[in-house]
Amino acid sequence: MNFPYIKLPGLTRRPVVPVVFTHKQTAIEPVMCVVDSGADMSYFDLDLASELGLTVKELKRIDSWDITGHIFWGCLSDVNVVIGGHEFKIPAIFSDQITRPFCVLGQEGLFDQARITFERYKWNIDIRPRTDLN
């Protein structure tokens, strides 16, 4: 499915797409997430884990480093995301340590299961499931 790059205050257009999160019987409204091929993992606000009904205390804590070398911690969990009507199960890190404007969809999991085509020259990103997987 094609999604437009979105222009945000003080920034150029970014590949930000609506993502529905589900966990067991809980689903929340679509959350706008930037697709970031430079991020190894997906990073989401810790509030999102709580809203999904994840028990944060039971999740594995994991350290991450930002580009400046600053270390921060988060909680690792698999989560189901629906993008353009297609569901993917991806590992995600939920953290309240990130000072950032975006929820981030990184490489691990999603880029393995989906064909993602950045067409910045057209301000378009195309995300669809790989057709070579069963």
């Binding site: 790059y5 979105i6 991020a39 606000d45 999102l48 809203e51 991450s64 950032r100």
Partner: protein, 68 residues
């Protein structure tokens, strides 16, 4: 098919830090709040599928993340 361009600069100007709910056609700000729970409470009567949520800050910056 090329997607239609979206510009959120006007409706998000001055909003944040916190979370925002935006109409799913990206044309208006529906609710804002300091955290996700607050915003979800404000939109609890809004029809499903009519809004999207987004964390917002006063100044959007570039982000690169990595993990070991």
């Amino acid at each position: 098919m090329r997607a239609k361009p979206v510009d959120l600069t006007k409706i998000l100007k001055g909003v944040g830090p916190g979370w925002a709910a935006i109409s799913s056609d990206y044309k208006k700000l529906v609710a804002k709040g300091k955290d996700l729970k607050t915003v979800r409470l404000k939109i609890k009567d809004v029809p499903a599928g009519s809004v999207v949520l987004m964390p917002v800050v006063k100044n959007f910056r570039n982000v690169v993340l990595m993990v070991e």
